[in-house]
């Protein structure tokens, strides 16, 4: 909210010598963030005067219409100025920058020949003066607001300091001069004069010539006040001071009636609407809309109303979207002679729904959503009528109201509880002082050594109900800087736990492992598209996506079901940027709508829901397993003075996946697989027990091409959450007997996996087999066969093995390999 200091100063006694910075700091201290401080008028130099238009000569034959204007600037002689604007007439009062003056942006004004005339100064717009955004025409001052020859800076109240203040949602009352003045006065510990005091005692003179329009509430409002005025001259000009204050507050001057409503809203925080009373048929009512109704609002939009919309209607039609925007059918125009001024307290949620369902956030709706004091409607509507009568003339014929304001509540606040929550020792008088400064009344003191205070919060502070609410007021009024610093350590918890969970430890070790092996970690957005997921070849459960209702882009409307869906595009981006040796990984959550999209309950609040509801709620949130995936699109060994490098290939991918499984304390078994997005002939599945926990290998050539990755790029993925905690390891005794080493070379069909042969050899060799290594693989045996050569190392715990024994083990091993895989001993 933009607030001019000149307006605040009407209600806050600003101590002499207070700087704009110290005022901003005073706001910040009590919780109002000052986003900017604008100093206006200071950058206008030289003579800026009020002039009267004596003659207007239209100059023809130019690209745009141009006027030569003869002015009286109070110099005792006429002055001619060229002007491109057209929003003024003979006899209007305008603002003239004299030659030699300098406008904001170092805009120097000089006498010069233009359009074959001597232009001896400039007639200014608000924007040229740096006082507003309006550049639709030049400034025309209301008659009577200034004299010819006056300093126009004074007339325009150009010199000011405007604070741009962010108002938090719990402080609706502070969206007003009244609210902010109170806060500033409280922070500066200076006098605050409440504008409401004067208005409260103001008596409006009522002329009962005709009965005032009646009002009632059906729904959605606690309070409404309607005041009727007749015989107005709606075309009257808004006084300059009101117009300037509205403009300084970031709004535009529109017409006398609208300016009055906006002015009162800015002054007091109560949004007000002015209806053309002659357009109201019968009684005004606040009610819910019926779905067939429509309303053309003042922004010119024809709106279809929905059942949750709260409206103001008469006997025949909807007139306004309550608390949000009025309708064209009852708009005050220049011809209007009767006005009904409405001020209400609408339910915040009802207005929020109006604003949301109609996608229409206004100055009024922002205030109503944040709570408008129900006791303010009567006062603010009175203030609006006062101003309206002053400007437009006319007669007040009385009011109608419905609902009721709020009554005072009395709350017991314990000083010791405030002190223990804040961790600070405020005295009773300091606490009372804070309460007074924010508008509370301390109505009594309790028994307990005066520490129990009975407090009545003001009607605009429905948020002050509990001890912690009052504690905040005390702490902020006495500055958070006063709170001391203490550092608590965790006391022994009722529930002991590991320092890091298994998942957290794994995450750390796997991350360090891959980074040390040349991978760069990335963290990618978990968004994808069904089309991309399909292009990568994911099917079945692995393609069941969760869909966002409001994605940022139609390109990424679903959540990833696999890390590679977001990692592969990142690999491609790196390649496109010319980065070398791209090896990247990500650890993150994946989302699979395997059981569809379950609904989660909205439980009650205020007390703990029952245990079953909590358990059901937790269970209804989909599990989101943690997966790690890596892509290698470049070297795993670099070239250098030592020789050639080596590109990562399918075997590296599988090896990394295996090492990750081992790093997590599991031992995996590699099987052939045919799984997207991998190359069907170069993909491995790693199983731990019966469960597939990882896939790895070369990416499918189609995927590589789709993403523009280097040929034969590879990838792996490990479902970390699928790996159980490692079983306890039993290392056994280390035998000191000598090993017996046997080599076997076996010939198998080309489609037999080395792993199946290895497993058969292990099983056949018996328990004295200590280790087995594949040391050679030869695929040029002929007839599509391959040769696999293994070294088998045997060792007994208690004796040296004999040649006969070892030959026997070897024979059993090769026989089982033959039985299982058709392996023949190579001759």
């Amino acid at each position: 909210m933009l607030v001019p200091l000149s307006w605040l100063a009407e209600h806050v006694k600003i101590p002499h010598g207070t700087t704009p910075e110290s005022i901003a700091e005073a706001f910040v201290q009590v919780g109002f963030e000052v986003e900017a401080v604008h100093i206006t008028g200071a950058d206008i130099e030289g003579s800026l005067v009020v002039g009267r238009v004596l003659e207007i000569e239209e100059l023809e034959g130019h690209k745009k219409p141009i006027r030569f204007v003869t002015l009286d600037c109070g110099e005792g002689k006429e002055r001619g100025v060229i002007c491109g604007a057209r929003n003024f007439e003979k006899n209007d009062l305008v603002v003239v920058a004299m030659p030699g003056s300098i406008l904001p942006g170092d805009f120097k004004i000089a006498s010069r020949m233009t359009y074959d005339r001597l232009s001896d100064g400039m007639i200014c717009s608000m924007r040229e003066l740096g006082l507003g955004d309006d550049h639709s025409g030049i400034v025309v001052l209301p008659e009577g607001s200034a004299q010819v020859g006056d300093d126009a800076r004074e007339a325009l109240q150009a010199s000011d300091i405007i604070f741009d203040i962010a108002i938090n949602p719990d402080r609706g009352y502070a969206l007003s001069i009244r609210g902010l003045a109170r806060e500033l006065a409280g922070s500066l510990r200076t006098t605050f004069s409440d504008p409401v005091e004067r208005i409260r005692s103001l008596e409006l003179e009522t002329k009962r010539s005709v009965p005032p329009t009646q009002v009632k509430i059906d729904d959605g409002a606690e309070r409404i006040y309607l005041r009727s005025v007749v015989d107005v001259r709606a075309h009257a000009q808004t006084p300059l001071y009101i117009r300037r204050r509205i403009e300084k507050s970031g709004m535009r001057s529109i017409s006398a009636a609208v300016d009055v409503t906006n002015y009162v809203m800015l002054e007091l925080g109560q949004p007000i609407h002015a209806f053309d009373r002659s357009k109201i048929a019968g009684t005004l009512v606040v009610r819910k809309a019926s779905p067939s109704e429509t309303l053309k609002t003042l922004d010119g939009t024809e709106r279809k109303l929905v059942a949750e919309n709260l409206v103001i209607a008469d006997d025949q039609k909807v007139l306004a979207l309550a608390g949000t925007m009025g309708g064209e059918n009852s708009e005050v125009s220049e011809a209007t002679v009767e006005i009904a001024i409405e001020a209400a307290h609408f339910e915040p949620i009802a207005v929020a729904k109006n604003a949301r369902s109609q996608n229409l956030s206004t100055e009024a709706s922002r205030r109503f959503e944040r709570y408008v004091d129900p006791n303010l409607a009567e006062i603010a509507s009175k203030r609006a009528v006062e101003l309206l009568l002053e400007i437009t003339g006319g007669s007040y014929i009385g009011s109608s109201d419905a609902g009721a304001g709020v009554n005072d509540v009395e709350i017991e606040v314990k000083a010791s509880a405030i002190n223990s929550l804040i961790g600070c020792d405020y005295s009773i008088s300091e606490i009372e002082e804070a309460f007074h400064l924010v508008g509370c009344k301390v109505v009594g003191k309790g028994e307990e050594k005066g520490e129990l205070l009975k407090v009545t919060p003001p009607s605009w502070r429905p948020d002050l109900r509990r001890n912690s609410d009052f504690a905040e007021e005390v702490a902020r009024i006495h500055s958070y800087d006063r709170i001391p610093l203490t550092l608590p350590f965790a006391r022994a918890s009722g529930k002991p736990s590991d320092v890091l969970t298994l998942r957290q430890r794994r995450r750390r070790s796997v991350t360090a492992f891959l980074a040390s092996r040349g991978f760069s970690e990335t963290q990618n957005y978990p968004f994808s598209s069904d089309e991309f997921i399909k292009q990568l070849g994911f099917t079945g459960d692995r393609a069941k996506t969760f869909r966002l209702a409001n994605p940022l882009s139609d390109e990424f409307p679903v959540l990833r079901t696999h890390i590679l869906q977001s990692l592969l595009p990142t690999a491609a981006r790196n390649i496109n940027r010319g980065n070398n040796g791209v090896a990247i990984f990500e650890i993150g959550s994946v989302f699979r709508a395997i059981d569809g999209v379950a609904s989660t309950e909205i439980l009650t609040t205020g007390k703990r829901p029952d245990q079953k509801s909590i358990s059901d709620l937790f269970a209804s949130v989909p599990t989101q397993p943690m997966m790690i995936a890596g892509v290698i699109a470049g070297s795993v060994e670099l070239a250098g003075w030592w020789g050639k490098g080596r590109q990562g290939d399918w075997s590296d991918a599988i090896s990394f996946a295996m090492e990750i499984v081992e790093l997590c304390g599991s031992s995996g078994e590699v099987r052939r697989s045919d799984f997207a997005p991998w190359h069907p002939g170069r993909c491995a599945e790693i199983r731990v027990g019966e469960r597939a926990v990882a896939h790895a290998g070369e990416l499918h050539p189609r995927v590589v091409e789709l993403l523009g990755l280097p040929e034969r790029s590879v990838a792996f993925a490990v479902l970390l959450d699928a790996l159980a905690q490692s079983p306890v390891i039993h290392p056994g005794e280390l035998s000191t007997m000598p090993p017996a080493i046997q080599d076997v070379a076996l010939v198998v069909d080309g489609d037999v996996s080395a792993e199946s042969v290895r497993l058969a050899l292990i099983e056949g060799a018996g328990e004295l087999l200590e280790s087995i290594e594949l040391f050679d693989r030869y695929d040029k045996v002929g007839e599509g066969k391959i040769s696999l050569a293994f070294t088998l190392t045997f060792r007994a715990p208690d004796r040296t093995l004999t040649v006969e024994e070892v030959n026997e083990f070897r024979l059993k091993a090769t026989e089982l390999a033959k039985e299982r895989t058709g392996a023949q001993l190579r001759s």
Partner: protein, 335 residues
């Protein structure tokens, strides 16, 4: 005979001394001290000598032999050292050659700072809690005192799941993990809740729709705002350095009362770092915590913002785009 011994000794001394390498030393030893040397011959003839000569000649011979053996050992040591030095010299390599054969990798700085923060708080006795990114709306909003249609809900631009009736959202903060913790554990509770969070902001230099947070939650007897202030000041000094000053400023969050923004004075200016406050009693009550007995504080910071401030990263896109050059700069554990 004595003269003969002297002569042989002189010759042998000369030969051993002059031998320039191990091979010639070995040959000199064989010819002057070996079985066919003059000294060996005299030694063999010692038995046939006149007994009166035996002792003096034997003594001279023994002395000569000892002296020569000593010389040999000395020369052997010298020449071995010489040979070793020559071999080692010839094997000298340039150890300054580029050596790295595996490409350089790197841990993402978000991970590094996440670990750093976890370790800071583990040191204070906290535990690290994690929760799901796709979360129940009740846990993300209602339980945190953010009712439907409250203006505070629109403060956080939320990603909703289809269908809307599922009441599933991408969590807008890690606070639902705080609620999960309070619903499943009894106080005292000292936890941090790090993780990825989501808000529907377009990506630009300072905003990203997916970002990381760390939140802290303490619920215990007698916990005060002074505890919150002290904890955040300690945290700020650990992350930004001991010279950093922190302050609290009044603010508003539905889930805390009183609420505050925490600022740090870093590199000559005040920087908004995060939000915090005393846990709103409504939130504690929803979680079944006795507000007569317990109070608590909570805080939350953006990790991207923390990194940007500390490491002077001007554009948040460097953090989120996954360019390998970025992570590589942080290596295995730089800060």
């Amino acid at each position: 005979m004595k003269a003969e011994i002297d002569g042989a000794q002189i010759e042998a001394t000369q030969a051993l001394t002059l031998a320039g390498d191990l091979e010639s030393l070995k040959l000199a030893r064989i010819s002057h001290l070996g079985d066919r040397s003059t000294i060996a011959r005299i030694s063999q003839s010692l038995g046939s000598l006149d007994p009166s000569l035996k002792a003096p000649i034997g003594k001279a011979l023994g002395e000569a032999r000892n002296q020569l053996n000593e010389l040999f050992e000395k020369r052997l040591a010298e020449l071995t050292l010489k040979r070793d030095q020559e071999v080692i010299e010839s094997e000298r390599v340039d150890v300054t050659l580029p050596l790295r054969r595996t490409p350089k990798g790197g841990i993402h700085p978000l991970t590094l700072i996440d670990q750093e923060i976890a370790d800071i708080f583990i040191g204070l006795g906290y535990r690290v809690m994690e929760g799901p990114e796709l979360e129940a709306a009740w846990l993300n909003f209602d339980a945190l005192n953010i009712p439907a249609d409250h203006p505070a809900r629109t403060m956080q631009d939320t990603f909703f799941l289809e269908p809307l009736e599922s009441n599933l959202v991408l969590r807008t903060h890690t606070s639902p993990t705080q609620i999960r913790t309070m619903l499943t554990q009894e106080p005292p509770i000292y936890v941090i809740c790090p993780g990825r969070t989501f808000r529907s902001d377009e990506l630009d230099a300072t905003h990203t729709p997916v970002f990381s947070q760390v939140e802290g939650l303490v619920v215990d007897q007698g916990i005060s705002m002074a505890d919150l202030k002290g904890t955040l000041d300690y945290f700020a000094k650990k992350i930004f350095g001991d010279e950093v000053v922190s302050r609290l400023r009044p603010s508003y969050f539905p889930f805390t009362e009183p609420s505050a923004e925490v600022d740090i004075f870093f590199n000559g200016r005040w920087i908004e770092w995060g939000g915090c406050g005393m846990v709103n009693p409504n939130v504690l009550e929803t979680c079944g915590i006795d507000t007569e007995k317990y109070s608590g504080f909570a805080f939350g910071m953006g990790l991207e913002r923390t990194l940007m401030v500390r490491h002077q990263v001007a554009d948040i896109r460097a953090i989120v785009e996954g360019d390998v050059r970025f992570s590589r700069k942080f290596g295995m554990g730089g800060r």
